[in-house]
Symmetry: C2
Subunit: 211 residues, 2 copies
């Protein structure tokens, strides 16, 4: 009976009966876009532009935000292969270089993630009214933190990430204005005034850019 | 100079120089879809399917959720023109009828709202990867509550609503799977076992369905 219904539907060209179950996916290796991060029940937030290069394992961030009633501006370059993170101040032409504790994680839905839902944000009655997204949940092995990650069905573009640990509470990240590719690869090269500086003793991890 | 650049861009057919500033808009008068509501820092939540008829000023909700550690199921019909709200229990064939305190507000961005941002959720490098949305902020005159409403640029389909009052804190609503139209208009007619019942003394407002 089911296959008869499927045949009927296929006449209309929908193709929904072919078992198109969503699969964990990996985002494009080169991405440029923007994101907002909210934590501490809204008392800490940041807005960032990012450039992401999974081939070279490099991330660039231009960020401003507020945490514990203090505003901050950050201009950071993460070079995961070299294990270095640069905190760059163009106005004063100064630079801080730290050892980067984190290993590079590509933007992806892990294979052991569980599909929570597939929905259309907005609507589906006309073109441009909606976005088909998949939401996945799981636990990060290293931290035992829970996550709920939403990516587009087409292209595996990140849309939002909810991450929970008892220490940090909920950290909510929204992604938007993503473009596949890197317009200016020089943004991954530390500026000249960063070359001859000493590495600081303090080790940083990737999350230190946000919280 | 600007117009020269505009001309150059128009050659590529983008048309971005025509001053396409987003305007406050009204959602389609007939909508069917789903929504989630989160309040009390995540301690209260609800999932609901809705049918919305702005012509007849009627809303139907099938809802389940959790508030103060208690789960609840609700099946509600709001008839704003008649000033009545029905709480329907199909299993026991019982019904509760209350006077509805709220007036009908169509799903729209008020004319005095301020545009906060226009972004693409997800990305714009390929079809199906992103959704162009406008986010508006303002104050609800009656309650002095602040809101941040996101709707699609094309179609004015609701995507999310953040609403804040000092008493209730943040109430976050996400909308998805919207379809323009009503598949079964009979869902706005109270079932037969609701017809001969007394109206309860307690007056309800629309928000009592969620919090």
């Amino acid at each position: 009976m089911n296959s008869l219904i499927c045949f009927g539907l296929l006449v209309f060209g929908t193709g929904v009966c072919l078992g198109q179950k969503p699969h964990p996916c990996r985002s494009p290796p080169l991405l440029s876009g923007s994101m907002t991060v909210t934590a501490k029940d809204g008392h800490a937030w940041a807005f960032a532009k990012y450039r992401y290069d999974a081939f070279g394992q490099r991330i660039r961030l231009w960020e401003f935000g507020k945490s514990d009633s203090k505003t901050f501006h950050l201009n950071m370059l993460f070079l995961f292969r070299e294990g270095l993170v640069y905190n760059i101040d163009y106005r004063n032409k100064t630079c801080q270089k730290n050892v980067l504790h984190s290993t590079f994680h590509p933007s992806e839905i892990p294979r052991n993630a569980s599909l929570l839902s597939q929905v259309i944000l907005g609507g589906s009655s006309a073109p441009g009214e909606g976005l088909l997204v998949n939401t996945w949940t799981g636990v990060v092995h290293e931290t035992q933190g829970k996550y709920m990650a939403t990516v587009t069905e087409f292209g595996c573009i990140p849309v939002s990430l909810l991450y929970y640990t008892p220490e940090k509470g909920w950290v909510i990240t929204s992604y938007f204005n993503a473009v596949t590719g890197i317009e200016d690869p020089e943004q991954f090269i530390p500026p000249s005034f960063c070359t001859d500086i000493q590495t600081e003793e303090e080790t940083l991890d990737f999350f230190s850019a946000f919280l």
